[in-house]
Symmetry: C2
Subunit: 135 residues, 2 copies
DNA sequence: TGTAAAGTCTATACATGGTATAGGGTCAAT
DNA sequence: ATTGACCCTATACCATGTATAGACTTTACA
């Protein structure tokens, strides 16, 4: 199949597929005489695996590693487990950050329930007071 | 003060300060005869305000808007409240995404508690099965 | 006064994960 | 023969910085 069909089937854009190829995430496919890329069903499976990993927010480098490990059926999957675990930790960390953020934002919002003039706005005063506390 | 001192006092890097200036987040300061930037304490306050907003994960564009509103004490602070509210919504949305992500990751991790060979690794099988389900 | 070190300047490239465009080539149908 | 759909490469752009190179200024010290 050509790249347009692959894009349709995978749900990724043509540019994204070419981008993954440049990043060595997807092997370079054969070309036709007219220099068009030709893909097999394997490439589609490969691409869907990548898409799944991206949906899990893995970086391209992590996916490259995962694919490299996967390519050796006899090797140890230790690095795969480590990658997933690190990922879980990262997500947990980011969630904790966002929770703290949300708390600050809600506090700030409560400072100005009604629309007022800027000089009376509690939200801006809150933002300033954070500044004052730090300087 | 010169940019190095401002960087020290604000806790931001010199490059970041110059970057904010290019992005029109920070007004262009006066220069010495030798073309060095010279900052007042106002610039420090301004920068700390920006830093606080960035810590709340606001985009540069949002901060530009906030600063523009703040510059007119008699205008309405309605847009400030809207910005904060949209921000709270964005953070909530992102947290929900991460929660779903975390659930998937934990499920995947549980598929391979012990290190095995790649061909037996439950984690890789899980990732593949997601792919299979979609294709 | 000479010089070396520390600080600053601009311009540019890199990172991440794509997206968008320009300017061309290929292929199938009419 | 030409149109339209598709594809190609190369390049620039998005956000939010970080990191360099190469040049200039200022400061410190002998």
């Amino acid at each position: 199949m050509k790249i347009g069909v692959l894009a349709q089937k995978s749900g990724l854009s043509i540019q994204t597929i070419r981008f993954y190829e440049r990043k060595r995430l997807l092997p370079s496919p054969e070309r036709t005489q007219g220099n068009y890329r030709v893909y097999t069903d394997d490439a589609l499976q490969h691409l869907l695996f990548i898409k799944q990993c991206r949906a899990l927010d893995m970086t391209i480098d992590e996916i490259v590693e995962l694919l490299a490990t996967r390519a050796n059926p006899e090797s140890s999957c230790e690095s795969v487990n480590a990658t997933i675990q690190k990922h879980i930790d990262d997500v947990a960390h980011r969630m904790a950050e966002l929770k703290a953020l949300q708390k600050s934002l809600v506090t700030i919002r409560s400072a100005c329930a009604h629309n007022k003039k800027v000089k009376e706005c509690g939200v801006l005063q809150e933002l300033d007071s954070f500044v004052a506390a730090k300087s």
